[in-house]
């Protein structure tokens, strides 16, 4: 039996949804807006100033970048680490996901169970053993401890997401490629990866955001001032008695800008990837 819904009820329902969406958007946008607002306040006024006098202190940005230190090098180093992590994560996690989805081998279910189990282990639990390992290898104060886990497919969540995605692509494709003379690596590279753009975008964005904004790992592994990343430089603004909030916000806006830009550029692919990952399989 179908029940007709009066059009008035539908409009109210739509309005309620829109209001909720606006509220949620406001909750996410408010901190960004606050950051941008404070970043152009005259130094010393910070959050307490009620009268800006109509003057916006855009020079805060120049001062902030100057205070961060060697800004071009900070950006270059952070970009290098992020790029290696993004590429490494996409390649190795997709390769592992392909193997778990489409390569029959003994113990595949067990390995997949391990991947699932690894998703339940918090990063902090592995932090000390991992630090001891990298210290014993003499890699502390290099970027290797920051990139090796990503390059070696150390993100079980992404392995899982890729596996799920590859399962949605028909097995016939793999079989056709095998008959066309491809080995598994070629199938992964020439057939599966080109079809996995939404998932690649999702993993790339997640990895980009996590690596670009990572404070914990650089703090643990990077000791020398010349090896610092942007997040460590940002932390340098915080002092016990005279934290320059306006400069900190200006520097934060500069550091956050690439994240926002990347998300907007790849938004559509990202959402498709998340939808596929969320689909039941």
């Amino acid at each position: 039996m179908s029940v007709a819904i009066p059009s008035g009820v539908r409009v109210e329902h739509g309005a309620a949804r829109a209001a909720l969406a606006l509220l949620a958007a406001a909750a996410f946008v408010a901190p960004l807006a606050m950051m941008l607002w404070v970043s152009v306040q005259p130094p010393g006024s910070g959050l307490s100033r009620s009268d800006t006098g109509g003057e916006l202190a855009f020079q805060n940005y120049a001062h902030a970048l100057e205070r961060m230190g060697d800004f071009p090098n900070l950006v270059a180093r952070t970009t290098l680490i992020t790029a290696i992590c993004v590429v490494g994560q996409c390649l190795t996690c997709s390769l592992a996901g392909y193997a778990l989805a489409r390569v029959p081998f003994r113990g595949r279910s067990f390995v997949f169970a391990l991947v699932i189990a690894a998703m339940l282990v918090p990063d902090q639990v592995a932090a000390i053993p991992r630090f001891l390992l990298f210290r014993s290898l003499g890699l502390v104060d290099t970027i290797l401890p920051l990139v090796l886990p990503a390059v070696l497919g150390g993100a079980p969540l992404f392995v899982f997401l890729f596996r799920q995605y590859f399962l949605t692509l028909g097995e016939d494709l793999v079989e056709a490629a095998r008959l066309d003379g491809c080995g598994h690596i070629q199938i992964w590279w020439r057939v599966m990866l080109p079809l996995a753009k939404p998932m690649l975008a999702t993993v790339a964005i997640f990895t980009f955001l996590a690596t670009w904004n990572d404070f914990w790992a650089p703090l643990v592994y990077l000791v020398s001032p010349e090896n610092r990343t942007l997040t460590l430089a940002l932390a340098g603004f915080q002092r016990t008695y005279d934290t320059a909030v306006e400069w900190l916000m200006a520097a934060s806006a500069v550091v956050a800008a690439p994240c926002i830009l990347v998300y907007f550029l790849a938004q559509r692919l990202f959402l498709r990837g998340v939808q596929v990952a969320a689909s039941k399989r």
Partner: protein, 379 residues
């Protein structure tokens, strides 16, 4: 003529279940061997084993005299057309056609020539730069055919390639595949559950039942002389009537005397109980009785009528006996109409009721009665 494909004693198990059991089969050069059977009979598994996509438990496979069961699919010199087309969605039609040639490092000049030839043969001009998502089902299957053709393999494998198409396209592509096969003279293994495809495309048909090959032969031979009740029931549309009965004095008695039955004289053979008689619906003639007690022989009553346009299918009942007849489209029977049936004894197939096997010498026994003589009742 040598064997392009030789399968011996092939057994395949999937997930602990035996899917193929000791299959021995061969295809001559240029032959289209059709694997026919219902869903789950193992025909696709057999095809996939030949392709190398399924590892057999035992047995051997030779293609062109070369043993291939230990080779990877790409090394077997076979090309496969899938039911789902399996076109690479990210590549254009041209990219799909060139894909296997690039993988096998065919020189660019020859690659271009082979693609051009396939495009011409399959009328794919104008579609080369399109992606599979921009093609219709028929066009996609043509591209899939083209991708197989450009490889010029020793053996073509077709896995129900027309199943996803509508009836009109299926008929069109069936004719195209037949024409291509006749023109190129390639050897092919073709899997289908559609007997029209099997009958029209196959040089020979291999009928599979529960993982075993139960009959191999030319399409008409399989149709005319089914080896078992399974083949008899599966090959031919509408399906053959399979009725329990016995032979007494050269007369076939169907049904039970108490519940009503038919007798078909002139079937011949020794007296025998526990047989199954196979009668194709097209070999059953039924006429409406003109009045009470009209006609000759026992009266069967029309239980159900299906007008198909080209013919009229009628379910007839006589007590517990049920018989399907295919009448000319001009027939206008209505449920409840009575009338006698006419079955010529030489059209009756006899099978052993216990084993289901065809009884030797039971086919087309010369009739002692006129061919059009109606059966006599024995009840």
């Amino acid at each position: 003529m040598g064997h392009a494909l030789q399968i011996e004693g092939l057994t395949v198990e999937l997930g602990g279940r035996r899917v193929l059991e000791d299959v021995t089969l061969s295809a001559a050069e240029g032959e289209m061997l059709v694997l026919l059977g219902p869903s789950g009979c193992g025909k696709s598994t057999l095809l996939r084993a030949v392709a190398g996509l399924v590892q057999p438990r035992s047995g051997t496979i030779q293609i062109g005299g070369r043993r291939v069961d230990d080779l990877d699919p790409g090394e077997r010199d076979v090309a496969m057309v899938f039911q789902s087309y399996a076109l690479y969605p990210h590549l254009s039609v041209r990219g799909n056609l060139e894909f296997p040639l690039r993988r096998t490092r065919v020189p660019a000049e020859e690659r271009t020539a082979r693609v051009a030839e396939a495009v011409r043969m399959l009328a794919l001009e104008g579609l080369l730069e399109r992606k599979p998502a921009q093609l219709s089902g028929g066009q996609m299957q043509r591209v899939a055919l083209g991708r197989a053709l450009v490889r010029r393999p020793r053996l073509f494998l077709f896995d129900e390639p027309l199943s996803n198409l509508d009836a009109r396209l299926r008929a069109e592509l069936r004719a195209e595949i037949a024409a291509l096969h006749a023109r190129l003279g390639v050897t092919a293994l073709y899997v289908t559950h559609d007997q029209a495809e099997a009958m029209t495309l196959g040089t020979r048909i291999a009928v599979l039942e529960s993982g075993r090959v139960v009959q191999v032969g030319a399409p008409l031979d399989v149709f005319r002389e089914p080896a078992t009740t399974f083949v008899a029931g599966f090959v031919g549309s509408p399906a053959m009537n399979l009725l329990p009965g016995r032979v007494r004095g050269g007369t076939l008695e169907l049904g039970t005397p108490s519940a009503g039955g038919l007798a078909i004289t002139g079937v011949g053979g020794p007296d025998r109980d526990g047989i199954v008689a196979g009668i194709r619906p097209h070999d059953v003639a039924w006429v409406r009785a003109s009045g009470p007690g009209g006609g000759v022989g026992p009266t069967l009553v029309v239980a159900r009528v299906e007008h198909l346009g080209t013919e009229c299918l009628v379910d007839l009942e006589l007590g517990a006996l049920r018989l399907r007849a295919a009448l000319p489209p001009s027939a206008t029977p209505r449920p409840g109409d009575p009338g006698p049936v006419r079955i010529r004894p030489e059209t009756v197939h006899l099978f052993d009721g216990a084993t289901g096997r065809r009884l030797v010498g039971a086919k087309r026994v010369p009739s002692e009665t006129p061919a059009n003589r109606p059966p006599t009742p024995h009840s």
